[in-house]
Amino acid sequence: MELSKIVDPTLLTISAEHVAALRPYLAMFGGALIGIVFACFSLTNRKWLMAGLSIITCLVTGYYSVINMGMAKQVLFSGMMVSDGYSHFFNVLFAFIAALTIFSSFRYLDRENLHYPEYYILLLFSALGMMLLTSALDLIVLFIALEIMSLSVYVLVGFRRADRRSNEASMKYFILGAAASAILLYGSALLYGATGSLNIADIMKMATNTDHGIPMIYTIGSWLVAVGFLFKVASVPFHTWMPDVYEGAPTPITGFMTTGVKAASFATFIRILMSTGFGSEAAGLAGTQVETILWVIAVLTMFIGNVIALTQTQLKRMLAYSSIAHTGYLIVGLLAAPHTDLGYAPVVLYLVTYSIMNLGAFAILTILSGKSDTRLNLSDLSGLSQKHPWIAFALAVFFFSMAGIPPTAGFAAKYYLLYSAVQAKFIWLVVLAVLCSAISVYYYLRVLVQMYMRDPVGSENEGMTPAWSAFVVAMTVALTLQVGLLPSKMVDLSKRVVETLKQ
């Protein structure tokens, strides 16, 4: 047999348009590689160089992604990856998250004596993993991207090498994460066995075309894949790893995880649901009562996340449980999406606003965390409004936003999300969601009580807020209020972005 019959020659060439579509990924990858080269030499002022390089990398990635957002949809590498408005929108988000994480990490690493170049390199690689994850159309690519993202984050979680809690968190995350990856991989294998394809769209087509119903292997396989993702987004009952990991990880990395990892997993989940026709008549996953099960998962996630958060006195743990609760709201959005003409746009908007406010909140926790993250108990915030009025104000904005109180971005996003759910006739689910969010108000208020209504404790001067972190906080506060007051642009953008998924 001739070689040209086995290998399609077009696979070996790459057109100019494809290169253009790949620019964001290449920029991120290139930045990370240059970082590795820099890391090999012991240069003076290496930390400035590394931080600068990483930020420039994120900016370039973001710049190319914004340009590519307007480009037509292109399927790359014979259907393994796709470049569309949706993937590039999330590329911008990941570049943004990575950049802000670097900004808020800079002084933190100084204070903890952790200024190693690996930190930046791992962060960039993890962002690259997220970018690839949301553009994957093939289960193998998806798995590789997931691993690029996760492996980098495992290491980052354990980055405070001398700290036992950090090591424990990293270990726990690694073992459980590896198990989840294995489940995902096993599910992929079963799907391949059932349909003979690894392409998401093809799998769905073949599953619905079979004359003798949907095979059992297919059902099991799709559930195993779903479990892999439910683990990553920490929905109940796959949430138990999260509080420990969040608590042990260096604070900026916790912020990176709650926003980046979660957004990437959800964005991919949406793509999978969309291409498998979730909720529609021809749904490949239909017949597995996926809707009912997700309904139960959504309620449990919201309820358990919020109720356990009530009892937390450690801020990072509290935010971890609140993050679980927010996962629940997002699942409500996923359920509603196929039944309304708003589609997945509310979920996308919610992911963006959640990322903004959470990055801001964790940037503040990073400022306040003290040596080895020991000053993050609720009582440590006592009287903060008198010591650092602006920081207290910013944190109040973020907590009001997470509680969904106008005029903040959190309210606009929650309104949009729950409105779509009512439109989809999930009225009881929405009633439960708002009652859960009423529970959440209590623990968010507890933080405000500490900051504003208690007297300051301790007289030690925490010193100036580092300008790097102040930048992040100012930017996220401005965005939280801007999206809260004038959400129109973001609403339109999220709609347009989701439109590109359909074509």
């Binding site: 309104y415 708002v434 009423a438 405000l448 209504m453 129109s488």
Partner: protein
């Protein structure tokens, strides 16, 4: 001037926020003066409404609209009618008084205090002018934030408990209302094909209304819960005594003067016209609850040892009249209810202010600690007497007009309830006058009371406008009623159940 007149409501709504923000960057020493003159200027500005509002027209006036979130049909839509006109004026009238009364009461963290207090006014005016449910909800909730801090930071001993309770109660009610708003808006989209959250559009949505748990019934309950909590109506009133007692004087005044009116206003603007059939069905329930609130509030007030708590429970009783007046569903009752809201917004703040003044002198509010105050503080006693009489609805004061109209109106609808409700007038006289007697008359039992000083000039200045309003509204009610009546008639017209034949509303 043209631009100014067409955007008058927007200017009026956001002027306080601007003043608060400028105040935040001014030096600490001048902030209270800045806030006082700022709110006074806003009051002067708001008086212009009387000139440009056309009292003959029942429709919303001075409307402005702009696209806000196009994708969801959400508009920035504001406008007023004869009901919100007076509530806005009440708000702007009370603000300078509240600010002036805080001059001596608040000494720590002044900057935050005045910023929050003045910014709160934007939320209150905004809620009264909003004609879009999303906009209304935004103001309604945003109002909670400054109030929460006012109670929680500058309140009494159990301030954190009271502030949290206040916030959570309101939040739970409003969230269920939010779900109802979602449902209404999505029904509008189903029936009319485009998104909108403007109440003028939502009024047109047709929903099945037969039975207590029909679509209208359930949605009505969701709205009514939010507003009943704010009113506060028995049995969801329990946050009020805590919030009132713990709040600083200014907080109590705003709470009693304006925030409770939001509940009544919400019924008028939203719950009634949106769900007319449900209102007709639930009429007896709310008449009953309103009557219970009147009698129960009065009884509980009678046994309170703390003056402030007594006045707080009297609020429960007085706001019960508003509820039965509204649910009487006739013009006299509804007019009386609106008038009673204004009266309560004048008399109760006056009482709270005076309780605050005496608290500043004696640091107690226990009735037992007083007695014979008339002898040492004669001017104070006169003012206190006037406010007390207004509160017990003596003819000639404003309270009489409102309660009389309400009972007249509810008699037409439900004479039995009205008889019970009318006993509230008697009990009201009992607890108020008994309290007055114990505090003001008799010998001076405590030696600390002998040294009490009478009102200062500033304090008299705080109270004088309220005293004038009490008599003005009592003697010349027609000034107010004529501007109100066309709008009240329109409100009742909107709230009358429309019989629709062949209704086919999508069901799941």
């Amino acid at each position: 001037m043209d631009w100014f007149d067409t955007h008058f409501l927007t200017c009026l709504t956001f002027a306080p926020l601007l003043i608060a923000l400028i105040g935040a960057i001014l030096p600490r020493k001048v902030i209270k003066y800045w806030s006082f003159f700022g709110t006074l200027a806003i009051f002067a500005l708001s008086l212009r409404l009387l000139g440009i509002y056309d009292p003959s027209g029942p429709e919303f006036q001075l409307s402005e609209s702009a696209e806000w979130i196009q994708g969801l049909g959400i508009q920035y839509l504001v406008g007023i009618d004869g009901i919100s006109l007076w509530l806005i004026l009440l708000t702007t009238f009370l603000m300078p008084i509240v600010v002036l009364s805080s001059f001596s009461a608040v000494e720590e963290r002044e900057k935050e205090y005045y910023t929050l207090l003045v910014a709160l006014q934007t939320g209150m005016i905004g809620a009264f002018v909003a004609l879009d449910t999303f906009l209304f909800y935004t103001f309604w909730e945003a109002m909670l934030i400054p109030m929460y801090f006012l109670i929680g930071i500058w309140g009494g001993k159990d301030r954190i408990y009271a502030a949290t309770k206040f916030f959570l109660y309101t939040m739970v009610g409003s969230l269920l209302m939010l779900v109802a708003i979602f449902y209404l808006a999505s029904q509008h989209q189903v029936q009319f094909g485009h998104y909108s959250t403007s109440i003028l559009d939502l009024y047109k949505v047709v929903l099945p209304g037969n039975g207590y748990f029909s679509a209208q019934g359930i949605l009505f309950l969701a709205f009514a819960l939010a507003f009943a909590i704010k009113v506060p109506l028995f049995p969801v009133h329990t946050w009020l005594p805590d919030a009132h007692v713990q709040a600083p004087t200014a907080g109590s005044v705003i709470l009693a003067g304006v925030l409770l009116k939001m509940g009544g206003y919400g019924f008028i603007r939203f719950a009634f016209p949106l769900f007319p059939q449900a209102v007709a069905q639930y009429q007896w329930v709310f008449m009953l609850l309103g009557t219970i609130a009147i009698v129960y509030g009065a009884w509980v007030a009678m046994v309170q040892p703390d003056i402030k708590k007594l006045v707080a429970y009297s609020s429960v009783s007085h706001m019960g009249y508003v509820v039965i007046g509204l649910f009487a569903m006739n013009e006299i009752g509804a007019t009386g209810a609106v008038y009673q809201m204004l009266n309560h917004g004048i008399a109760t703040p006056a009482l709270f202010l005076m309780i605050g003044m005496i608290y500043e002198r004696r640091h107690t509010r226990d009735i037992k600690e007083f007695g014979g105050i008339t002898k040492v503080m004669p001017l104070f006693a006169v003012f206190f007497m006037i406010a007390t009489l207004a509160s017990v609805a003596l003819p000639g004061t404003n309270g009489f007009v409102g309660e009389f109209l309400i009972l007249l109106g509810s008699w037409k609808t439900d004479p039995v309830m009205t008889i019970f409700a009318a006993t509230g007038v008697i009990f009201g006289a009992v607890y108020m006058l008994w309290m007055f007697q114990r505090v003001m008359f008799g010998p001076i039992k405590k030696s600390e009371n002998e040294k009490l000083t009478d009102l200062t000039f500033r304090e008299a200045l705080v109270l004088a406008p309220l005293m004038i309003a009490i008599f003005g509204m009592g003697v010349l009610p027609n000034i107010f009623l004529t501007k109100m009546q066309p709008s009240v008639a329109k409100f009742l017209e909107r709230s009358t159940p429309k019989t629709v034949v062949g209704l086919n509303v999508e069901k799941r």
